[in-house]
Amino acid sequence: MAAPRTARRPDPLLLLGIVFLAAVALVWSTPLAWMIVASFRPQSFGGLDMASLTPNFTPTLANWREALDSADFARLYLNTAIVCLGILTVQLVTITLAGWAFARLEFRGRAVLFYAFLLQLMLVPPILIVPNLVTITRLGLYDTLTAVMAPYFASAFGVFLMRQTFRTIPRDYEEAAIMEGAAWWQVVARVLVPLARPGLVAFSIVSVVAHWNEFLWPLMVISSTENQTLTIGLASFTQGAESASQWGVIAAGTFLVAAPLMTAFALFQRQFVNSFLFSGVK
């Protein structure tokens, strides 16, 4: 049955590597494991068992009931999904076109413009809250989901990433397409974008995670409960400066917020790896 394999002695370095990675994975998954365990733990304030990773013998759903009861999660999920996908859709278009322009087009002041673009990466977002809010209000977008999305439609990081990705693609492909009579937009859409897929996928993950978790800007620009995103909904029942914490409810709520992202990431990761393997950029 099995082909006779050359009996190889396990490489000690490889073993060490596996042990090390397992240890890292354990450390990284501890908060997650705690969150799941704590969310089923009865509200005890036992302190000692609160920090424990071992589940209780009598798990309870009370924390989940309270978390679900504390906010309109269906609405929060929908709003957050709209915001993340809305931002991503526009970003994919803008960063592809801008990245292409910086990578391939020759124009006066290209370098200066590019560095000016990169400077945006240095700005701490809270500095822009007031100017952005003024603009949003003038546009009549205050308290809308569009307002949550608008400041992120262009991404300096994305443009930088796409420029670098495009520059790694040999010009031969484009030249062949041009020889066949393709227009510039056909070159971008049919040749460059498929070849740059790993870059786009990587950017998409970063973008969705960032905006899914974003708190401050949505809090600034949203006033109605109907327009709240997940992070704000979560904070509205778990944040308390002057009192103790209901850790179980916080754990359950946090799990509800993180679950879709974790699921999507687990599914997406395969695609992510595949896109690196088969994209043909070698």
């Binding site: 007031v130 809010l133 205050y142 029942f237 002057e242 009192s243």
Partner: protein, 439 residues
Amino acid sequence: MHPLSKVAAATAFALSLGLGSAEAATEIEMFFPVPVEGKLAKEMQALMERFNASHPDIRAKAVYTGSYDETNLKTHAAIKAGRPPAAVIMSANFVLEYQIGDEIEALDPLIEADGKTPDAFMGQFWPALHGNARFAGKVWAVPFHNSTPLLYYNTDHFKEAGLDPSKPPETWVEWSDAAKKLTRRDGDKTTRWGLMLPSNYDYLGWTMTALDMSNGGQYYNTEYGGEVYYDQPSMRGALTFVDNLVHRDKVMPEGTTDGKVVSTAFFAGEASMVVLSTGSLSFIRENMKQGYAVAFVPANIRNAVAIGGASLMMPKGLTEEQKKASWILINWLTSPEVSGHWSRFTGYFAPNRAAYDLPEMKTFLAENPDAKVGVDQLAYARSWFATYSTVAVRKALEDEVQAVLSGKKKPLEALKAAQAKAEEIMSPYVAATAMNLPK
């Protein structure tokens, strides 16, 4: 005119025009932070529904705005963007900055339009709350929910350590003696701390204010926002006291202890005495399994603590209708009935004194005598630290106190550094005010 008759008049006017009240309703927004645990955001929405149902000509919307600091940020941003909310529940010590920045309305004209004097109006509220609401000659805010720090102690531990649970420590000597008796060690490891104080940002400033004031200090100049007294004997004594508890007596944990850790340790029986806000009282009452009691913060020179909590203020830039509607909402939220209801729900004390004359409140206090301690301590409470750039000036002290708590600095050098930093932060304001002299 009485607010109610105003409402009646406005309603009558709307009806006389034959308009549906929904169309004539003035829409207003109120920003509110969630400073305590529980379904407070939901309760606030329920309150708004009650208000709207009883005031058909106003449609008020409560907007959740995060913590006190985030609410401050959002309010500043919204005012600058030209979308001021009609009312904000603002951390009581941030109001001064809005007054300095000319961003809020003085409430005196509205009070006088109701036929009251500002003195009579403020007279509704506990005297300790006046300083953060009425200053620079005018009324700028209306107290909404307030707190003071309290000493919570585990009565089971007291009995076990041979202390009388009905006699909580009243002086710092008794306090540190009790802490020593209550601390349990297992070799080098402390298994139970005699005392824990919250020392995360914001809470630490408040804790230090309480100790400084109990040591005869004033912390800041209540009349002028450009002065603090960080390196004075009262504060030096307070910080040395804390430093001794941590490093000499080892009855308090070293380093920065978050307020949430403090309350969790108290529930777990890992801390025998803690200082926490009255705002935590409902939560502790519902969840504490062992016996507990509350007491005044012990005194070295005198009993004194600073108030905490939030007040309602009205940003500038509203229409006349919005101003009127906002004023009706503010008065409704601070009325004895609503104030009392909110107090029982949250654990904060009701700023409106008349709330305690209502039968529901009398029954509640009879059933929960611990809630009365916070109210009694009010007689010794003082204004809350408020200066130009309050948060940064407070942080100047907190950073240095944290350095002492973690053993990196000694009290005197830490407080000198804190004072210098605070003065640097306030220097633009000082230059424009107290040092702005005839040329």
